[in-house]
Symmetry: C2
Subunit: 260 residues, 2 copies
Amino acid sequence: MKAKLILEYRGDDYCGFQNQPGLSTVQGELENALKILFSGEYKKSGKLDPITVSVSGSGRTDSGVHALAQVVSFIMPADLEIPPTRLQSALNGILPPGIAIRSTTFLDDNFDARRSANDKCYRYNILLRKTKPVLDFNRAWCVSPKIDIGSMIKAAQLFVGEHDFENFHALDTDVKTSVRIISRSELCRISQCELQYFVCGQGFLKQMVRRIVGALVAVGEGKLTPSDVHDLLTLNKSRAQLHIETAPAYGLYLKEVFYT
Amino acid sequence: MKAKLILEYRGDDYCGFQNQPGLSTVQGELENALKILFSGEYKKSGKLDPITVSVSGSGRTDSGVHALAQVVSFIMPADLEIPPTRLQSALNGILPPGIAIRSTTFLDDNFDARRSANDKCYRYNILLRKTKPVLDFNRAWCVSPKIDIGSMIKAAQLFVGEHDFENFHALDTDVKTSVRIISRSELCRISQCELQYFVCGQGFLKQMVRRIVGALVAVGEGKLTPSDVHDLLTLNKSRAQLHIETAPAYGLYLKEVFYT
């Protein structure tokens, strides 16, 4: 039996999702909390404690990136009887303040948070303000209120469909192909001083969303035109010819992971 | 000449607005930043430094209470020529990350942030969720999603008008009268899992907004009826007869201060 957990976390508290030796990561904190919980349960029943739990996440998130609903799965030890509600409340008691389990379900062994995932949706928060963020510190990217939002909305639409995102990922990655399919790419004005960008697709390259957002803000600031973005997407122009800033990690949220 | 500053701050970083010996307060941090800035200016012009600046705030906020737009004023030293934009950017550079100046204007000597203030508006954020808040940690009060929002909306309306708020303030205060006039008291559903309560009036007693919110949540949880709230407002029932929890400080925001 597999346990499926939906997690919320503050990215600025951790060095990314994935385990890294000597660093505090979301995966590390969760595996540690599971070890504490399960060891306690084994102790109660007088059994030996063979437990080291490995969790599988729907995907990595970089250091600083938040999650509203990251999905992880792991094999539930067959000899432990813990109902999902108690598993959730016990874990929330053990986990540090930056991570919370929002939902817990038990599924059959075929489920795997990473392999079974279909689309993923991300949200990026942009604040239009001149002064440093205070209440939204580490929660949004602050850009000039004078930005041209109409052009950004148009440019955002260009990303929908199948494209080679060669110009829109971190260079330190080794991937077979940089072709990806985007099903939604939409910039929304939430209020006078807040924009949210939504992007959904089956898979994303490293820093891809942050480079898309960097390109959109460059369009809003007049540093790039929507036509430049088109050229970068069709590989008529390279990243050496047209500079894109990578938007900061702290504005990005893993919003939802879809499973069939 | 008076300077009028509009401030945003994170309440959880400070022990309230007002100066307290040995503690970090918003007023203390701001007066310290002004002292650093003005001393530097005097030094540049070779003058002696007689500067200790006292700022006047529109009102106190308790420890933990945030501000979106607190207003403060102080006398600008007559012999310093600093334009408002430079005053603002210099102060934002000196102030700690939990405080930002959003606007700076110079007004005549009659202006005083406290005495000249008319209405003040507060907002209180409530999240409907079972698990601990993570991204909204110290920014909202989390209550059960099973709460009866319709009854809370009705109860909120009862506070509009002139009432004796004897049952709705902290007992450790010494005030001439607990009669206050509320011009707006409205609970709004912002999304599936977020409520915001807005309250405006000329003056508020210590912890008054937090006790109003405590009463509204008690109504939502079925612990009080709107009729009980009416009895508490008309003094037909006392706080000894009907218990109200004081809502936590970290959900409260000073939203706006109005001047004629």
